[in-house]
Amino acid sequence: MTEHVATNETILVVGGGISGMTAALEAAETGKNVVLVEKNPALGGRTSQLYRYFPKLCHPTCGLEINLRRLKGNPRVRLLTMAEVTGIDGSTGNYTATIKVRPRYVNENCTACGECGRAVEMKVDDPFNYNLGQHKAAYLPNTMAYPQRYVLDPAIIGTADADRAKAACKYGAIDLDMQEETIQVKAGAVVWATGWQPYDAAKIQPYGYGRFKNVITSVEFERLADLQGPTGGKILRPGDGREAKNIAFIQCAGSRDENHLRHCSRICCMASLKQTHYVREKHPEDGKSTIYYIDIRAIDRFEDFYQKVQADPSVNFIKSKVAKITEDEHGNPVCHGVDTEGYKRYTTPHDLVVLAVGMEPSVKGINIPGHIVADSSGFIEADPANGAVFGAGCASNALDVNRAVQSATAAALRAIQVVNKVAKAEA
C-alpha cells in the first residue's frame, strides 16, 4: 500500500463492509485516491459473518475474496482499520474528517503465524460470533481477515499475558506502546457506508429474547451454522447444548412494526428461507423448519427460491405473526398465536426459535456533518442538502448484498463526479 496525502480530490469511504469496499474499489479503479475507514480490525462487515448467502448459497468467502484481491492490488486505496470517523467539517469538495484510530498493538511485521494466540491465556468475548463464544485475547478477527494480522485485546495490556505474547512473537510484530491516535483527513466527497445493525430483539418483549436462552436471532443462527463458528457448524441450543432439529423462524421480528422498526427490512424473509436449507443440510433425515410469517417477501427475482422451499416437505409455513413465546419445563420455547388461515389457535413447542430480526441503520442518530437528511427509519436520503456525503449500502436503505453493491457503485459514481469538478476547478 502506497501512502498518499489526502487532498480535496480524495474520496473518503466510511465503513469497510461489502458496500464500503465496493465503493472504495470502484472509485480507486477509475484513478481516484480513496481513504477507506473501518471500525473493526478486519474488512468484510456483516457479510463476512454469514455462513452462506442467498440465492446461490455460496460462502461469503467467495464474494469477498475477489474484492480483497482487487484491494491488495490497488495502491490508490489507503486502508485504516480500527478507525472511526468522529466528525466531518466543511462542505462539498472540501471536507476535513477527524478520525480516531485505536491501537492494534500489532504492526505490519505480523505473519499471522498464531504464536501469540497460543501463548496468551486470557479469553474475551468474540464479537465476530455475536458473543456466542470467546476467543483468546490475542486473536485473528476471523479466518479470512484482511489485513491478515493479529490483534491484541486492550484488556491484556499491562498484564503478564501481554508480555507472553510479545515474547512469543518471532517477528517483532507486537508493539505494546501503541497509543490511540487522532488524525485529520481531507476529502472532496464522502461515501457513508456504515451498514446496519440487527434490531435489539430484547425490545420485542413478548418474544422473550434475553429471558429464554433458546430464543436467538437470525444473525446468531448464521454463526451457529458456520463451520468456523463457536459450535463448529453444529446447531446447538445455547440453553443446554443439545442439538436443535425442530426450529422455528419468526418473521418481522421488529420490522414492519410501528412500535419497533417502521420499515420492511427486506432481507429477513430470504434469510429465513435460506436458513431452512441449513437445517436440512445439518439434519437431512429429521430436520424440521417452521416459518411464521405475515406475508413472505422474496425480494428481487427470488420467487423461485421461495417456491423451492415451499416444495420442501421439511419446511412448514404458518401465516401468523406469533403473539408471544413462553418456555416449557424442558427449556423448549413455545410459540403462541392464531393461524390467520382458519383462525385456529396454536401452542407449538420448538427446540429453538430464530427471530428474523430487522435491520436498523448504523447511521441512526449520528449527525455528521452537522445534519444528514435521513428518512423516518434513519436511512440516509439522496438529498442535495447532504452535499457530497452519499449514503451507500445499508446506510441508505435495507438491502441485501446484491443491492448493496449496486448502491455502493452508484454512490462511488456520485463521489467521482464531485472530485472531478474539484480537479477541474483546481487545474
Binding site: P206, C252, E258, N259, A323, K324, G337, V338, T340, R345
Partner: protein, 210 residues
C-alpha cells in the same frame, strides 16, 4: 380525486364505508394487515366462547359481510385488556374499534338481545342513571334473572355463600332492595344526561350530513 383513487373507490364496498363513517375509530379498519397478533394476544378463548377474533372481524367488514358482523356476539366479549392495542404493529386501536362496532350494532338494534355483556351494559346504565348511584344488589339481581325466574333462583342459590360473606363484611345491604341510596340532586343528573344526549344527536346528524 385522481384517476387511481377513483378506481379504488369503486372497489371499496359499502359496508367498509359505513363502518368508517358510523363507528368510532372505524376508519382504522382498512389499516389491518392480517398478521394475527391481536387474536393471539387475546386473553379470552374465542374458539369456545365466541366466533370471530378481531382480525377476522376486520376481514369480514372488508368483505362486506354486514349481517354476520353486526349480529355477531364477538365484539361484545372484549374485556378491554388492551393487549391487542399494545402489540398491534400498525397501532390500530383494536379495543376501541371492538366497542365502536358493538355500540353501532346496538344502535341499529342488530346486536344479539340476550348477549350477557350487552344485557349487563344496558342494565348498568339504567341502574346508575336512575338514581345517580349504582344499586349493586338490584344490578346483580337483574343479571341473575336475565334468563327467567327459575334460572334466576338457581343463580342466586349458586352465589349464596358469596352474598352472605358480603353481607357479613357489610359490603352488601339487603335493605337496598327497597329504594336504596340516591344522589342528592337526581333531577340535576337527569337534566345533564338529557343535554348530553342532545349534543350527541346533533353531532351525529352533522356527521351524517357531511
Amino acid at each position: 380525486m385522481s384517476a387511481n383513487t377513483a378506481v379504488a373507490e369503486k372497489y371499496r364496498n359499502n359496508f367498509l364505508k359505513e363502518i368508517e363513517e358510523q363507528v368510532e375509530m372505524g376508519d382504522w379498519v382498512k389499516m389491518c394487515m392480517q398478521c394475527g397478533v391481536c387474536s393471539g394476544s387475546c386473553p379470552t378463548n374465542f374458539q369456545s366462547a365466541w366466533e370471530h377474533p378481531p382480525q377476522e372481524l376486520f376481514m369480514m367488514i372488508r368483505a362486506g359481510k354486514r349481517e354476520e358482523v353486526l349480529s355477531s356476539s364477538s365484539m361484545w366479549n372484549c374485556t378491554s385488556c388492551y393487549n391487542c392495542i399494545v402489540r398491534c404493529p400498525r397501532k390500530l386501536p383494536i379495543t376501541h374499534i371492538m366497542h365502536g362496532i358493538a355500540e353501532y350494532a346496538h344502535r341499529l338494534g342488530m346486536a344479539p338481545k340476550m348477549q350477557p355483556t350487552r344485557f349487563f351494559s344496558g342494565l348498568f346504565w339504567k341502574n346508575a342513571t336512575h338514581t345517580g348511584r349504582v344499586n349493586e344488589l338490584k344490578l346483580s339481581m337483574g343479571l341473575y334473572f336475565k334468563d327467567g325466574f327459575v334460572q334466576g333462583v338457581k343463580n342466586g342459590m349458586a352465589m349464596q355463600s358469596v352474598a352472605l360473606g358480603l353481607v357479613k363484611a357489610k359490603r352488601l345491604n339487603v335493605m337496598e332492595l327497597f329504594g336504596g341510596h340516591k344522589c342528592k340532586d337526581q333531577k340535576g343528573i337527569h337534566a345533564m344526561l338529557k343535554k348530553a344526549y342532545e349534543i350527541e344527536r346533533s353531532r351525529k346528524t352533522a356527521k351524517m350530513a357531511g
